[in-house]
Amino acid sequence: MNKQNKEPWFSAKNLKLIKNPLSKENPITVQVLGICSTLAVTAKMQPAIVMALGVTVVVAMSNLLCSLLRNTIPSRIRIIVQLVIVSLLVIIVDQILKAFVYEISKQLSVFVSLIVTNCIVMGRIEAFALSNKPVPSFIDGIGNGLGYGIILLVVSFIRELFGSGTLWGYNVVPQWLYEHGYSNNSLMIMPPMALIVVGLIVWAHRSRNKELCE
């Protein structure tokens, strides 16, 4: 590694790497990556948050590792090398989830192992880590993981509230509402509604940031 410029960890440039994915370069609403898992895991908040954390860890670590190895990986076989790194990390995350939050990991089922195929992971490695230094790459991974997480949080909040009448597993819709004929919206629990909610978020996002409109 060349050590000529020592950038501080939280330089303006690095902070931007965290801030941009939260809004202007959001992996879900702007880059449109990782939609599959967004639709699959956001029916309840708990699994969504755990998933977001898992993805954040994997993106950050794989960005870091690939960035460290970026000058030694032959570019013709780089995808396979990246896959090995990502799978390794995903297996570790999977094992940790099984050890500490078994119930939630059961709910997430196959979607934890499917982090391997999450486009955000490969996308950030290809687009950022392979051409940047380890520290910014790591920060970029954190930023994109959080950007992914914030959308998951919003979507799962809406879906759990209207779909199950709960938040984080606790009942929030009062009983008298049910007695007056209110009922939960079961379309909200189905993945199609997640797509529509994400679409609405994209709509709101783009009408606020005009420069995002194509």
């Binding site: 004929g181 209110y182 919206n185 079961s186 709509w203």
Partner: protein, 392 residues
């Protein structure tokens, strides 16, 4: 009429640009062109295809659904008193109708207030005229709902249909799904326990008598619905407000066909498709699925097949535009509707899903029809001209 004209003329300057009530200008505009044929007409563009303007066309559709609506109101009352063990003779015609009228009217009011409210807001925000498409949609939505759907659920469904089904694609004429069916699909998937099954169809049902619809009976393993063919034809069966009476719908179909608003190609091919699939199932038979033995014409009499074929599948915006495409589109709707009804145990009614599915495919069908036509002509041209290569 002159007074009305004068009223609008007086109103116009009050909502002109820059005045205090500018935010109401599209509302005034909408009511004005509802009452009078607008002075300005489209002179060019892809949407110019007929001498009458869209509002008149929509009004004809409204007229066409009126028989189904009136009968639906009557039937709501009829089923109600029937389930309470009172016969027609005791209650009398007008009281029966009045009961149904009071049940259905709130549905229509909610549908129009919510739908038009959203429509007006979008028109104002985007600075264009209020689209007239909602006139028909707003009438169709109550007709394809069970009479006792909770009003707040209906309001939600209408909002969903107008915003997600229509406005985000650019409003009337740009939607690729039939908005009325989007509303119904929303209700169907959101509140399944209240939308289908045997507990919902009759307003205020007495507990003693089960009010299963014909489709519901078939789903639970009936060999034939216990309603007589005549009852199903006339419409004295439980079901959504407007869908039960085949006669009333046929009157509407006649109005639509005579005025040329709806395409006879689509209607015909939907029935042909449904009959073909029904007959196929009869031939196949099945020891486990008694539904397959049901004579094909029962499919036309039960549920929303008739209503869907006449009023939903023929929606000029969401159906195929080419003549050949219309045949394919209609056939597939008929086939899919019967297929879903018979084979899929989760969905008693296949018409809604079949039409929505084919709505999605309609542009693709058109694309292939147009494409094959282009290829055919290119070939012909090549034969005559002796082989120009660079035609597309």
């Amino acid at each position: 009429m002159k007074i009305v004209r004068k009223f609008f003329d007086n109103l116009k300057p009050k909502v002109a640009k820059g005045s205090k009530f500018y935010w109401l200008h599209s509302t005034v505009e909408a009511f004005d062109s509802f009452a009078f044929v607008p002075k300005t007409t489209a002179k060019s563009g892809a949407h110019l295809r007929d001498a009458i303007d869209m509002k008149r066309a929509m009004s004809v559709v409204i007229v066409a659904v009126i028989p189904a609506l009136l009968f639906g109101m009557y039937n709501v009352g009829y089923e109600h008193y029937l389930s309470h063990g009172q016969s027609m003779a005791e209650v009398g015609f007008w009281q029966t109708f009045w009961y149904g009228f009071l049940k259905v009217l709130p549905l229509i009011v909610v549908s129009y207030v919510v739908g038009l409210g959203i429509e007006f807001a979008f028109a104002q925000k985007r600075g264009h005229e209020v689209n007239e498409g909602y006139l028909v949609t707003g009438m169709l939505i109550p007709l394809i709902c069970p009479p006792d759907v909770p009003l707040w659920q209906l309001a939600l469904a209408v909002a969903f249909a107008v915003i997600i089904g229509k406005e985000i694609f650019g409003g009337t004429g740009m939607n690729f799904l039939n908005p009325a069916l989007v509303a119904r699909a929303f209700l169907f998937f959101s509140y399944p326990s209240q939308m289908s099954g045997d507990t919902v169809w009759i307003a205020d049902k007495a507990d003693a008598i089960s009010g299963a619809t014909a489709l519901g009976e078939m789903m639970t393993g009936g060999v034939q619905p216990h309603y007589s063919i005549l009852d199903m034809f006339l419409g004295f069966i439980p079901g959504c407000v407007g869908e039960t009476s085949v006669v009333a719908i046929l009157i509407g179909a006649a109005i639509l066909l005579v005025t040329g608003i709806a395409s006879w190609r689509i209607m015909l091919s939907v029935f042909v498709g449904g009959a073909a699939m029904g007959l196929t199932f009869n031939l196949l038979g099945s020891s486990t699925n008694a539904y397959m033995q049901l004579p094909f014409y029962y499919h036309f009499l039960m549920g929303g097949f008739m209503f869907g074929a006449v009023f939903m599948a023929t929606d000029p915006v969401t159906s195929s535009q080419t003549n050949k495409g219309k045949y394919i589109y209609g056939l597939l709707i008929g086939i899919m509707a019967v297929l879903i009804r018979v084979v899929n145990p989760a969905y008693p009614e296949g018409m809604m899903l079949a039409i929505l599915l084919l709505n999605v495919f309609a542009p693709l069908i058109d694309y292939f029809v147009v494409d094959s036509n282009i290829k055919k002509r290119a070939k012909r041209w090549k034969l005559v001209d002796g082989g120009h290569k660079d035609i597309n």
